[in-house]
């Protein structure tokens, strides 16, 4: 008899179902109420409509925010994937004193409250004259998503068989060829997966972002937050559903790539 059957019970299943409902219902309710015909987010019964999506597509401000979010997320994902991978290779493949302790530094962007990161960065970017708008947003999001890429690529690299590289070298390939034909192809899915996760982190970031935007570079989460403060309309739902779709699709692809 396996442990699986020994430790479960009907009551336990019930409680677990409730916890799952607690976890997932907020997202489900946002999606469901986006199809309402009313002017307030309500769950549609028979009157199912895409009215709010149509309105969304006609609203230039919202489309602009979507474009900004895409540009910022793509830019920061590329930077974050490169820097995170470099750091992960460095930490996995070398030994030096206090390596473990020092690697915690890579996780700081996750630990520090994003409000503090936000105000520290906006003041700092002012000092080093990095323009607000895209440059500030992309740099800010790169630093915020870095820990996720670092952790993901590091865990993939830890399972990498370095004998393959040695074999390639022994068989006469130089380091560049070895990287191009052996290391690269094996590690690149992890790097891509890291980039996708960075994209998702950037796409949803609000707290630090509110300090970094310029008037014409509001991102979607900032627009959603502003709309939440002024009154609930189903437009927020429609916009949220688009965001959810993009995030889930990108993150699922990342999960697929990273074994």
């Amino acid at each position: 008899m396996s442990t699986k059957t020994r430790l479960e019970g009907v009551k336990f299943q019930g409680v677990v179902t409730i916890v799952f409902a607690f976890l997932l219902l907020p997202v489900i309710i946002v999606v469901l109420t986006s199809f309402t015909t009313q002017t307030f987010p309500t769950i549609p019964r028979e009157d199912f409509s895409f009215e709010w999506y149509v309105r969304l597509l006609q609203d230039e401000k919202l489309l602009r925010a979507l474009t900004v979010s895409f540009i910022v997320a793509t830019g920061s994902a590329i930077l974050s994937a490169i820097i995170g991978t470099i750091a992960a290779i460095g930490f996995v493949r070398s030994t030096f004193p206090y390596k473990q302790q020092i690697s915690t530094v890579m996780l700081l962007p996750m630990i520090i409250s994003p409000v503090i990161t936000g105000i520290a960065l906006v003041r700092y970017f002012g000092k080093i004259q990095l323009p607000s708008g895209y440059p500030a947003l992309i740099m800010g999001h790169t630093i915020l998503s870095l820990p996720y890429v670092f952790l993901l690529v590091r865990s993939e690299l830890l399972t990498f068989d370095e004998d393959l590289e040695r074999a390639s070298r022994v068989l006469g390939a130089d380091p560049a060829t070895t990287f191009r034909h052996v290391t690269g192809p094996i590690v690149s899915p992890a790097i891509l997966a890291g980039g996708f996760i960075a994209f998702v982190v950037s796409f949803g970031e609000f707290t630090a972002t509110q300090f970094l935007i310029s008037p014409d570079t509001s991102t979607v989460p900032v627009v959603i937050y502003t709309m939440l403060r002024t009154g609930l309309t189903p437009t927020i739902n429609a916009l949220s559903v688009i965001l959810i779709t993009v995030m889930v699709v990108v993150a699922l692809s990342s999960r697929r790539l990273a074994s």
Partner: protein
Amino acid sequence: MSVERPTLGQVTHIVGDRLQGRISNHHLALLGVSFVGFFLILPIIFLIPESLNLGSSTPFESYRRAMDSIYVDAFVRSFIFGLATTAVTLSLAYLLAYYLTFAARRVRIVMTLIIVPLWIAYVIRYFGILLFLSPAGPFANLTGIDPGLLFTSPAVILGLANVYLPFAVLPLYNSLNAINKELIDASRVLGADKWWTIIKIIFPLSLPGLVAAGLIVFILAAGSFLGPAVLGGPQQAMIANVIAKAFLENFNIQFASALAIIYTILLVGFLIAFNTVFDIQEVLGDI
């Protein structure tokens, strides 16, 4: 006489050989750490001069003001809400992680269900909770029940627990999953019932995961801005909200910087204290 020009392949080989000699893996690690140093640690250190009123007779004015009771209250509230959220989140996460380890039949699908919310923007998830708690919202409409929780402390704590739940499940699942299943079988064979096995074998062995999950949830919850901003009222303002308000609404950069520095020092102090009891490296290794 013609000089033979190297092909692109040869060039990359030459560059590769040179790089191999000059750039070691140490340098790569250093590059990563410097990036965080230059774009996070240094910016935070630069908040120190911003927080001081240099040149005046009262350079520590902002720090004195931060001792006013409303700001001390915000710090205390962050701590208490952080603890309460950690308690709620850990109990729910333990249930899910336990289910995932010992009862779930399709682990990968269940795991994906738990992780999916993690990918979705916090602001959207808080919006969903807001819809649930809103007295005119779809839930109240459908059931006729108004939970009466919106803009109260329980609403904020429930919201934070909801949002950070997946973060807690992962380390817990890792440590539960690492338990040697034969230990559990042995305990059962030797006559211990289900609960005794959980108390004596499973729970003690899952403590590292519990500590890791607790640390990450506490840090995230105590520093949260969106939770109290969307689900709470003025009475629920946490430290992140107070800092953001000082900066964005009152344009008081000096005061916002002072609060940010105090908060960072408290956080570092907390981590050092935590480190004396548990090994933070080991704990973070679980994440």
